[in-house]
Symmetry: C2
Subunit: 145 residues, 2 copies
DNA sequence: GGAACACCTAAACCTGACTTTAGGTCAATA
DNA sequence: TATTGACCTAAAGTCAGGTTTAGGTGTTCC
């Protein structure tokens, strides 16, 4: 059993955010003692790990709440929950692809700017074409477009 | 030369958002004709590509504006701009790593739920340990934690 | 000539995800 | 005993990144 302050340190999430998640219904079976103090058990910590993961995958608080509600309904929602994870898997794979494209653009710019830095001005690079690029930069450029 | 409506379709960005970017100073040398109608040229389109890429890499509008301002100052800001791209490269690489970790978590959950679906209930999977997992799932689990 | 359409500005409004504030409880320490 | 520190609630505030609204201009189709 952990206090909200301990959990805050373990997960590096502000106490106010943990209370907010609780208020929004993301921590469904979180218990409180006689003085209304929250007590986090292993299930609650696992819920928090799932919350962080679903947030990373782009899910909104209200949808995470809905998922947590399904969890509390037991066996009859297993398929629903599995399908939700399959959908988030697609989301996150797409997001990684987009980030990799952006990374290629940034890597191209890094090369472009280090060439300009050598020249000390923008003249030569302003008119650069695919033919002028080294093979590996050409590849990066293509993956960025 | 393109109208705002054409650019909106080309980039799949709402017209209102393009106007907002212009208002916030992200489209520094965007020209307007005698009736104040925006005319996008190739430089402006390239700026938009960079804006989308920097946004993906987690940069805020006000910092993108600052970058665009550096661009307008010419040769003396080349090194500054290069260093900004190097920093965004780190950001985006870190973000990809975090997303991959979340993806491992989600993949683990997908396996976990498909096993539960076979059983029709949560009993067996609730008490699963590392030893019970197939080798490849064990790897996924480890990369998620 | 008038209606439809694409454009314009300024300003108000919206949304999600928190964070801060104000006022209070409770247990342990000086 | 009083003050410190960790906890509590409800409600208001904040912030980024847009979106919507209200009122207007200029061009083209019927």
């Amino acid at each position: 059993m952990y206090s909200i302050g301990e959990v805050s340190k373990m997960f590096d999430i502000p106490v106010s955010t943990l209370r907010y998640y609780d208020k929004e219904g993301l921590l469904i079976d979180l218990e409180k003692d006689k003085s209304r103090i929250r007590k986090f058990n292993e299930n609650n910590l696992e819920a928090l790990r799932v919350i962080e993961c679903l947030k990373k995958s782009g899910m909104q608080i209200k949808d995470i709440k809905e998922f947590m509600h399904w969890c509390s309904l037991g066996d009859k929602t297993i398929t629903k929950r599995k399908e939700m994870f399959l959908k988030q898997k697609e989301n996150i794979e797409l997001e990684i692809k987009e980030l990799q494209k952006a990374l290629n653009m940034i890597n191209y710019k890094c090369w472009y700017y280090s060439e300009m830095e050598k020249d000390g001005n923008e003249k030569r690079m302003k008119n650069i074409t695919l033919q002028d690029m080294p093979k590996e930069i050409k590849e990066i450029w293509k993956n960025a477009h």
